[in-house]
């Protein structure tokens, strides 16, 4: 397997970053952030894998277990991630109620208009 997992994680991180920076639609940006997030999780879990190990559930048949610490960290991160995504989407709905659009440049234009 070598370092292939890490390269794939980096490619996904860059895809997420590109979506966040270049797309104007706010919901698309949130999608890009979630892709970024999942790629970071893959990075950490790949670091915790032990060759020849198994899932960290103690059993008499196995002696080698994969590292449980990254699993715990990423479990927390996944649930916190969905909580932040929910808040971001709620903010997007309120922005839509206030401005009538969720495209970033249209919101900018509405803000710059003399009210």
């Amino acid at each position: 397997m070598g370092l292939f997992n890490y390269w794939v994680a980096v490619i996904l991180i860059m895809t997420g970053l590109y979506v966040v920076v270049s797309h104007a639609n706010l919901v698309k940006k949130v999608l890009g952030l979630n892709i970024f997030q999942a790629a970071v999780f893959m990075l950490y879990i790949s670091a915790g894998k032990l060759a020849g190990g198994t899932a960290p559930i103690l059993d008499d048949r196995f002696t080698q277990y994969s590292n449980p610490l990254p699993h715990v960290l990423i479990l927390t991160a996944i649930v916190v991630g969905v909580a932040t995504t929910a808040l971001a989407l709620a903010l997007i709905i309120r922005i839509h109620l206030a401005y009538g659009t969720v495209e970033e440049d249209e919101i900018d234009d509405k803000d710059r208009e003399p009210s």
Binding site: A55, L75, V79, A83, A86, L89, A90, I93, L97
Partner: protein, 140 residues
């Protein structure tokens, strides 16, 4: 009702199985993959499926939003109180070994209660999120 009939029948068959599986995952999290978070999300997903198929009116009569807010708060409160109980019995905050005579069974009880608290909060919050997003009557 006609073209939603298949969805409604399947939903009625599936929702009890999903909720039962969520309970299994909650309490079997010590012996296999699972635990509070997964069980809370599964429990929430079962109710959300019911809400999507049958509409918010029916859903509100089954599970009221006030009940969900109370359940979510109670889950967090349970977690905090387990920690305080550890302090009252002589140990540190969130020290489970002092909850019972035997440290290992104290850990079992502590982990059981703490995972229950986590499951309650996560399921309450997930269904509340669904209510907040799906209710179209909120207008400024």
């Amino acid at each position: 009702m006609g073209h939603h009939l298949v969805l409604r029948v399947i939903c009625k068959l599936l929702v009890p199985l999903i909720l039962l599986f969520a309970l299994y995952v909650q309490f079997h999290g010590d012996f296999g993959p699972g635990g509070g978070f997964q069980a809370g999300v599964l429990f929430g997903a079962g109710f959300i499926l019911y809400g999507i198929v049958f509409g918010l009116g029916h859903f509100r009569s089954v599970v009221s939003p006030a009940l969900l807010r109370t359940v979510a708060a109670c889950g967090l409160l349970l977690y905090l109180l387990v920690g305080v109980a550890g302090m009252l019995l002589g140990g540190n905050y969130l020290d489970y070994s002092v909850l019972r005579e035997n440290p290992a069974s104290g850990q079992h009880l502590g982990i059981f209660l703490v995972e229950l608290g986590v499951g309650l909060t996560v399921s309450g919050v997930m269904i509340s999120l669904f209510y907040a997003f799906a209710d179209r009557r909120f207008r400024e």
